[in-house]
């Protein structure tokens, strides 16, 4: 269905900037963000709360709520620039070529319609099909998202389904028209751990079957390690590092990435001692009080005076890029309090 060759990016974001108007000022939530996702690829966007990852996800569908303002060079979906596209055109693409699943499957389904009717609606929003054909497709979709006894589940109301089942229904609705890109904003945060793994497996399988490109927004590095192909690390609205997933975990280049990886809880070593979780000191700066230069510098153990002078540019690094003046020399300059990193 896609007219994009296999290795070209289906989704290409160029110099995206998102701001929120607050009185006379505009607070920048995302700065100069560029990335690409290819068919069948999963790009994970990770970062702390408030780093701009969710608003980036919304901008991909043109859903940034007012007073948010999106600009930049382009958000290209299958070669077509979505920025500046009229709302009616955007609406035709949403759900059809780019779809999104949300964090809360409990509240994203309509309590007074059966799940089958809701999937049928998702199909008929974009395609003119008979009620019978739509029903058949909805049941097939329920089967594909591994909902047992789909024929009967079709007539169930959302409140009869567990959280995991509801997220499966959301996925079925999102994939109803076989979109080229699926944006998943923390799709498993509201689910318990065993269900999380099943849902992510399901997204992986469907991605392989359809060649869908997936943008996975998460703060869970465990999820990233298992389900992403590439990782984009955001800090304070900027890309600080983008790498292939194996490289990122094996050899994180940015001090923030190192901090994130070090901050993961781990089981004790051979002696089964529990160690205190490593943390990144400080908090994300607020949009209204952004430091000059590298936004991470005030929390960074490696910061030099030069870091505060100018925002470090994104430099090419193995399988990606990193925006840090000291990226190449971190191992030599390991400060005491981050010694555990990469162990």
């Amino acid at each position: 269905m896609s007219h994009v060759p296999a290795n070209d990016p289906v989704l290409s974001v160029e110099h995206l900037a998102i701001g929120f108007r607050s009185g006379a000022r505009t607070l920048r939530a995302v700065h100069d963000l560029s990335f690409q996702v290819a068919r069948g690829e999963t790009l994970a966007i990770v970062g702390e709360s408030g780093c701009g990852k969710s608003v980036t996800a919304l901008s991909l569908l043109g859903l940034v709520p007012p007073p948010g303002v999106v600009d930049g060079t382009a958000i290209r979906l299958e070669g077509r620039n979505l920025l500046g596209l009229p709302e009616a055109e955007l609406r035709r693409l949403r759900g059809a070529r780019i779809a999104m699943i949300f964090q809360e499957p409990m509240t994203a389904l309509n309590p007074v319609l059966t799940i089958g009717e809701q999937i049928v609606e998702a199909i008929r929003e974009h395609e003119t099909v008979s009620a019978k054909a739509a029903r058949g497709r909805a049941i097939e979709l329920l089967n594909r998202v591994r909902i047992p006894d789909a024929e009967r589940r079709f007539a169930d109301f959302p409140h009869r389904l567990s959280g995991g089942m509801r997220q499966r229904v959301m996925i079925a609705m999102a994939l109803a028209c076989a979109p080229a890109v699926l944006v998943a904003d923390e799709p498993t945060t509201a689910l318990d751990v065993t269900i999380q793994a099943q849902i992510l497996e399901l997204i992986d399988t469907l991605k392989r079957e359809n060649g869908t490109a997936v943008v996975l927004i998460t703060h869970d590095l465990g999820v990233v390690a298992e389900h992403a192909d590439r990782v984009l690390v955001m800090y304070s609205g900027r890309k600080v590092e983008e790498r292939a997933v194996a490289d990122l975990f094996a050899d994180p280049l940015h001090p923030y990435t190192r901090g994130l990886i070090a901050a993961r809880p781990r089981l004790g070593g051979a002696d089964r001692t529990r160690t205190r979780l490593t943390e990144i000191p400080g908090t994300v700066p607020s949009l209204a009080a952004m430091p000059g230069g590298c936004a991470f510098a005030p929390r960074c153990g490696f910061a030099l005076p030069a870091c505060a002078a100018a925002t470090p540019p994104l430099m090419p690094a193995r399988s990606g890029g990193v925006a840090c003046l000291r990226a190449g020399e971190l191992d030599a300059a390991e400060p005491a309090r981050l010694r555990a990193v990469g162990a």
Partner: protein, 294 residues
């Protein structure tokens, strides 16, 4: 797709899903309300058959106590008018005014509330200030003033009650729509490419129907009460019999022949009680999760 269809959806796995009526009947208070209301409706429907003569005609000797003459089971008032005939015919007036006035309130109230809640911003500000303007005047006094100016008749009384009772409905609907408008359901639908019209028709209105239906039943009750109060004060339609008017007439003989005011008074109590019980029952029965609690 309406709520009633939802309630009558095909049976599914664990427990059989029942129709709205069945779920309503499972609640004793709702059952009582429904039976009482059915009785009043039956009275209204059968009035011209059982009492073909004008209930305002003087048919027997005055002050016939209930039970004194089998031909007039509820007795007669000070002018010798048949109370039973008055009660039956009065039911027609009460139900008619209650239903039509509520319909007027529904149209104004849901329209105002839904537009204000969905579009927000300036639309919201203007419509809500208008609503507040109406709310500053006590509804009963407002209705009284309108009826006094326009001359009491069934249409003017209905209109007066209808245009004074809508603000609470508008506020309720605005809150419901606002909650849905910014919820994940609407956001997810937009992300799936749904249009404004489809979102309103499919996701917003069906999810506000339950509170609308419930408050409608209460509105009918309060409209009946307002109409009775107006009639009690002598601002009823002078050409038709009304429960409130009957109570008003009986007031003068309350110390000696208290039944003249009490009989129509009980009718009002029954009607208002029935509608309130029904409203409560509907509130539970319309909740799609209601079965769990039942």
């Amino acid at each position: 797709m309406s709520l009633l269809d939802v309630a009558a959806a095909p049976p599914s796995l664990a427990t059989p899903r029942n129709g709205l009526l069945t779920r309503l009947l499972r609640r004793p208070s709702a059952l009582v309300g429904l039976l009482l209301l059915a009785l009043i409706v039956a009275m209204a429907a059968s009035a011209p058959l059982l009492f073909p003569d004008d209930p305002l005609d003087m048919v027997a000797q005055p002050f016939l106590w209930p039970g004194a003459d089998p031909a007039y089971p509820l007795g007669t008032d000070m002018l010798g008018r048949d109370l039973a005939s008055g009660i039956f015919h009065g039911a027609r007036v009460s139900l008619l005014i209650g239903a039509v006035a509520t319909l007027v309130s529904l149209v104004i109230g849901t329209g105002t509330g839904a537009l204000a809640g969905y579009y927000g911003g300036r639309v919201d500000a203007v419509l809500m200030r208008l609503t507040e303007l109406f709310q500053t005047i006590p509804p009963f006094l407002f209705a009284l003033a309108i009826v006094a100016i326009l001359q009491p008749s069934i249409p003017t009384i209905t209109l007066a009650i209808g245009i004074t009772a809508w603000p609470s409905l508008a506020r309720l609907l605005r809150a419901e729509v606002l909650k849905l408008r910014h919820g994940e359901l609407v956001q997810a639908s937009i992300a799936l490419g749904a249009s404004d019209a489809r979102i309103i028709a499919l996701h917003i209105l069906p999810n506000t129907l339950a509170p609308i239906i419930v408050s409608s039943s209460i509105l009918v009750a309060s409209a009946i009460l307002t109409e009775s109060s107006l009639a009690f004060l002598g601002l009823g339609d002078p050409n038709v019999v009304s429960w409130g008017g009957m109570v008003g007439a009986g007031r003068e003989v309350l110390r000696t022949d208290w039944y003249v005011a009490t009989v129509p008074g009980l009718a009002i109590v029954a009607a208002v009680l029935a509608l309130n019980l029904l409203g409560d029952g509907l509130n539970d029965a319309l909740d799609p999760k209601g079965e769990r609690r039942a």
